[in-house]
Point group: C2
Chain length 399, copies 2
Amino acid sequence: MDIIMKLRLSKRALKEDFQSSFVKIMLEVAAKGDLISFAGGLPNPESFPVEEIKAAANKVLETKGAYSLQYNSTEGYGPLREFIANRYKKQGIEIEASDILIANGSQQALDIISSCLIDPDDDVLVEDPSYLAALQSFHLYNPKIHTVNLNEDGADINEFKEAINKYNHKFFYSVPNFQNPTGITYTNAVREKIAEIMKGKDTFFVEDNPYGELRFKGEHQKSFGTYLGEQAILLGTFSKTVAPGMRLGWIACRQKELYAKMKDYKQLIDLHTGTFAQVVVSQYLEDNDYDEHIKKIIDLYGRQCNYMLEAMDKYLPKDMHWTHPEGGMFIWATLPKGIDAVELSRKAAEDGVVVVAGEPFYEAKRGLGTLRLNYTNSKPEDIDKGISILAKAIEKMRK
Amino acid sequence: MDIIMKLRLSKRALKEDFQSSFVKIMLEVAAKGDLISFAGGLPNPESFPVEEIKAAANKVLETKGAYSLQYNSTEGYGPLREFIANRYKKQGIEIEASDILIANGSQQALDIISSCLIDPDDDVLVEDPSYLAALQSFHLYNPKIHTVNLNEDGADINEFKEAINKYNHKFFYSVPNFQNPTGITYTNAVREKIAEIMKGKDTFFVEDNPYGELRFKGEHQKSFGTYLGEQAILLGTFSKTVAPGMRLGWIACRQKELYAKMKDYKQLIDLHTGTFAQVVVSQYLEDNDYDEHIKKIIDLYGRQCNYMLEAMDKYLPKDMHWTHPEGGMFIWATLPKGIDAVELSRKAAEDGVVVVAGEPFYEAKRGLGTLRLNYTNSKPEDIDKGISILAKAIEKMRK
């Protein structure tokens, strides 16, 4: 019955995935069964508003059942786009519902932006390290990727200025709040300088902001949308504040021509994002106090972060250091000199704890001895136990 | 506040959308307000199982609430993939759950296949006319598109043989059941010959089958999956049998290497299809008699099709002819000689009825005087009225 045929894949499909060797290690390590994991970036399911979503789904199916199950517009469900625009307005950012394009999570938003802006060999600027799945998305379109180092207060200003002046980047991709992987947040002072350097250039600032609402201490810093007007493309998502299983992200883009092209592309690739998920989440947002819900997540994550920082102080060697995030989901740790992070991630998994080495988050740098630790999705007792196992694994490697 | 920047779009974004001039006319015509429309391809919302989806959503949120709201695997929700594979098996097609990749509707399935198979200038074979949104999806990847004419029993065998022998096509894209736009179904005899011609070639048969379950008379014809084994890539969707607002389509692909590449690409472009929609629809399928539900849709669409055919017999001139579909959603009509379909679609809209000219469904042919008429989504009285308006518009153009 089976016919043997020669498979002729496209060049794009034949191209090795960016960082695939590291991703393979991460998958192998994660597949080792019942381990304590600080590897993922999953929100804590405890925070999902299950009852409220149930009430919203019932109301939607009772009052606009047929509408919620029918095809919808490519740009997305109107009331949901209104809600998103209004939240931007409350922050002083001039975004209208007509600037919002709903996507299947912000991963799709990255693909849409990349497709509409990147030609092969175009220059694109990213933070180093940066969000792995964003790098993978950009690499699909074969740009030249340039990097700027991160300091504790954001991108290094001098390097940024040099990079912006040297190349005519299509965009700078940044996660300015509680960055993935480092947890670093740009201060307002750094934001102002970065915005000043970018003004007048033909380079977009792509602000990816999945964690911005998850601040458990310190002061809210301003969105680049307030500094850069239509030069800023803002990405958001309900994955970290409502539920990732809804796959609802968005692009806020005030540049009308780009918006129109992105909408056309979205129509080509999947017509539109699921109506049912959009209408249910919109109903949920209408009938509940979203800020109150976010506050509960923040309280939970703040506690979890503290547990982890306390355990790190207690168990980890003194020649290590790490970030102290004010929000988000990750701590970024630097290992003692000479300890290889990839090797450590394998060894620690054998001992029962999964961590992610920093390597895949760097465009090119290797061997920096960095680790990303997620604190949102483990039980407190597991955090303590997991960090103590990690500490022992480090000591074993030192010998 | 606003910064004037030069927009530098990618070449892909700058490329004019395939058939965009026709799509513009279609949108203009459709925007004319409260008209009788035979233009869309929307399922009748009367057929949506609203109550059953509500019961499924409640059950899911009560029994696996957190799971249904969390991230999921790229290939899709296991039980849903099992259900799909089992339906293929019942038809005698050897498809396993591990061959199924869930997509955001079959429009995304088309993009995934195109991305993984088409390099610029690759040869791709399509029916003429073909499904417009599929043509648009392929054009994004810049192939050379070749066409084969359709007869009432399927693709023209001689033309098909010639086309297959002349070029080494990456795939042949076909909607063999109740085709969009023509409503034509391939007979088993034609299928056998087509399969015979394709065997041993390195060309995939992409069988897009959104309407196959919607047969209201005649005999079920065999899927190309039964003839072509791993040379067949099968596309399916719940959009026409459950609800399009869930955005749930799939690719069934037995070629393991291609499957793996398509899964990797899906991960890059949006991680995975919405968990909530998948789990709710899976629960709905588990708790209800799907065949019984489809029977209701078939009864409805069969009646609607009859109304339209009766009205066409009653009102339309004798020098027109049209298809008599045994299922699906469309009738394909050929106008009297000398009547331009695009012009007629404008005129008819002015008089209160929206129809789609055949032009955009052809890769290159123009002025064939064909119309696509959708009968699934209008009230019976509107069908009669709409066809009588159309008849008058045709007579006016004849003068």
